[in-house]
């Protein structure tokens, strides 16, 4: 009986460690944001003269 609880305890500890590791890894993943921006279009689009 004791042995069964011991195995269950080990499994629970293993799962919790696995969960904590993967969630902390997820937190460390960088978030990205891209801004595309324009201004002064002034009612007309002209191709760049370059």
């Amino acid at each position: 009986m004791k042995g069964k609880w011991f195995v269950l305890g080990i499994l629970a500890l293993g799962f919790s460690l696995l969960f904590n590791t993967s969630s902390s890894h997820a937190q460390k993943l960088p978030k990205t944001l891209t801004l595309l921006y324009s201004n002064n279009i002034n009612g007309e689009i002209e191709p760049c003269p370059t």
Binding site: L33, L36, Y37, N40
Partner: protein, 312 residues
């Protein structure tokens, strides 16, 4: 834009004003009003197709008056923003003063400001029926309102570059100013008191792209180009220090430079980096077929037909 939207998850497309009409000099003549207003509708329809997320208001957007601007805003799939532009009669803001967009798990607060300095005076017809509150005062109020609810605050500014710097120096809490009116390309955007200031030149010749990468929760940013440049400097300094040809007296100076460069690089650790590109709009760029159809229809209706020269 379409390709980017398909390949990237966290994108916001923004404009900071002076979008709809040519630079104002005089009220438009009666016979040109229809063409001018239909062109403004065409622009809004194109921006709908391009998936813009929000626009700010510039003084030239009021060329056909506040009622026209309010009416045309109903055709847009995105909000018109202005935090300091008020309806004189009701005392309410003409448009929404801010929005919060959730992108890639980040809550982005966006507000917009317009400068009263760009009108020709109290009798400028574009000012009829509107009132503009002092931008710095309103910026402080907006930051106070948005800060508890957001991770990042963006200002769509139609204040001009000089005023953008003043805002950055006096209003903490904003993270990015997307500037307008001055019409200058800022390929290497200044960062003043942790506020990144952006702008591109006029007539849609360029579009700006800013990529922000969040490694830490505190949104303090530095230009990735700065880091690369510092690392290159450090490598050159080390070469000088390791070279037998460098005189000892000179090495003392290089050691000092090395310490300073290393200190600056250490300060960048833990902050977030950005890259900024100013992308030229070129003739050979692929046109969107839907927008082209709209433009062709407009041209067929309003473009003046050229009178062939009289044969001699």
């Amino acid at each position: 834009m379409k390709d980017l939207r398909e390949s990237e998850k966290g994108i916001l497309v923004l404009d900071s004003g002076d979008l709809l009409f040519k630079r104002f000099s005089n009220p438009a003549p009666e016979n040109e009003l229809k063409g001018i207003s239909e062109k403004a509708y065409l622009i809004i329809e194109s921006l709908n197709l391009m998936g813009y997320d929000a626009i700010g208001i510039g003084e030239d957007d009021l060329t056909l008056g506040k009622d026209f601007l309010m009416e045309i805003s109903k055709k847009a799939n995105f909000p018109f923003l202005s935090s300091n532009l008020f309806d004189e009669a009701s005392g309410n803001t003409l448009f929404r003063s801010s929005i919060i967009k959730e992108v890639n798990g980040l809550r982005i607060g966006i507000f917009s400001l317009l400068s009263s300095d760009f009108f020709t005076g109290p009798f400028d017809p574009r000012k009829k029926g509107v009132m503009i509150r002092p931008p710095i005062e309103v910026a402080q109020e907006m930051v106070k309102e948005l800060k508890p609810k957001t991770d990042l605050i963006l200002l769509l500014s139609h204040l001009g570059y000089v005023k953008d710097i003043e805002v950055a120096q006096t209003v903490p809490g904003i993270h990015v100013i997307v500037g307008g009116h001055t019409g200058i390309n800022l390929p290497y955007p200044p960062v003043i008191k942790n506020i990144v200031i952006l702008q591109t030149t006029s007539r849609g010749m360029f579009i700006g792209r800013l990529d922000l990468l969040f490694n830490s929760n505190e949104p303090i940013f530095y230009n990735s180009a700065t880091k690369i440049s510092l690392e290159n400097n450090l490598s050159q300094i080390n070469q000088r220090l390791n070279s037998k040809e460098t005189p000892e007296a000179e090495k003392a100076q290089w050691r000092k430079s090395k310490e300073e460069t290393e200190r600056t690089l250490t300060q960048l650790r833990g902050k977030n980096q950005f890259t900024n590109h100013i992308i030229p709009l070129q003739d050979q760029m692929k046109e969107d077929p839907n927008i082209k159809t709209l433009v062709d229809a407009y041209k067929a209706k309003f473009q003046k037909t050229e009178i062939p020269p009289v044969p001699k």
